[in-house]
Amino acid sequence: MSLRARIRDGDAEAFGALFEEMERPVFSHAFRLTGDWSAAEDVLSLTFLEAWRLRHRIDADGGSLRPWVLGIATNVARNLRRASRRYHDALARMPRGHPVPDFSDEIAGRIDAAEKLAAIRQAFGSLRREEQEVFALCVWSGLDHAEAAEALGVAVGTVRSRLSRARRKLEKLAAERQQAGGWRQVKGDHDSVVRSVREAKR
């Protein structure tokens, strides 16, 4: 029986295998959408609780469950508060760590990288939410148009048009940035962001 069919039928072991396969892509996607380590951990956990709740919607036939899982993660990140309410009791039991995020340490240790990250977050933040989601799924998570359409429950044409809008906006921003002298311009604008990244290390 396929992994899809086993998960749909409630096979916890098969679901564990899905967690192993998808934990990294889901966490990365969640972190990129939220920009927040702890929120990304919540999104990760809630995504898999939602996936289990919605497992009966899985078709036995089909390819990778990656678009489906990343679609759930996108919804959870978008409606984190609502998802948290649904799983209020479970979240109370969730182990709260004091994570030492290697990633933040690495970033905080390199000021140029911190500036760059802040600039990326600012440019990403200038996109509309729908454009951010399509960009994160197609560009950072590597889904193709059809998979992103499946993940978001929209038409393929919609994915294409959102992606082109995102591209136009980002190219315009990049051009403006170049005129203003590259990344260094960003430092003054985002001093506080850079500082908060550094402080997070302490």
């Binding site: 564990g16 934990e23 990365s28 956990s45 109370a92 709260r96 995020p101 690495e106 440019a123």
Partner: protein, 220 residues
Amino acid sequence: MNKGEREALAGLLPFEAEPRLPDGRRRLLKEFVMSEIRRPAGHPRRRPPRPALLASALALGVAAAVSVPVLLGSGTPAYAVSRNPDGTLTITINQAKDPEPLEATLRSMGVNAVVDYIPSGKRCSPQPRSTSFLSRKESEHPADGRPFLIWPPNTDEPAFRIDPAAVKPGQTAVLEFSVSDDGIGKTAGIWANISNGPVAPCTLVDSDEAPLGPPAGWDD
């Protein structure tokens, strides 16, 4: 989307570093998710309120939770303790207020216990409240096979079960309870362990962490 197109777009927002959870954290979160999905089918939220709904054991340690009846008729006691034929005690928590009477009741039944109720959004400070708690292994799998907190409780009604025999002379049982209400059902949670030495009193502090017991990894 072809490779060139993706690369062009990626170049506009070059998020090069891959955010990754440390391995230990990843394992903990997987353990959490897997223990949640193994709870009996049917989330309380999706059912009409009714009593007798037992949650399964949590793989995460000695914290545990049961759902309790949503309706508290007038005269419903805040808690109840009864002794079972095998010497264990069944504790039912209906309201998380006034821990002192429950503590007194347990003491009168021979359990040297410290009881606290933890409201939502709070936790005890300090945590852990003792430097001499039994390790998770000692507490869940003691040599004599009689753990203090019996889980699952196997009671007819939603309740917790403890074994007074697990508390040896000179030891103190520490019990922390929470009751959360999602508007449809209530869930009572418990954290229990045994301390060989003094137990710090619980000062409630604001918290967005799990309300009961010390944070994960306290006995690593």
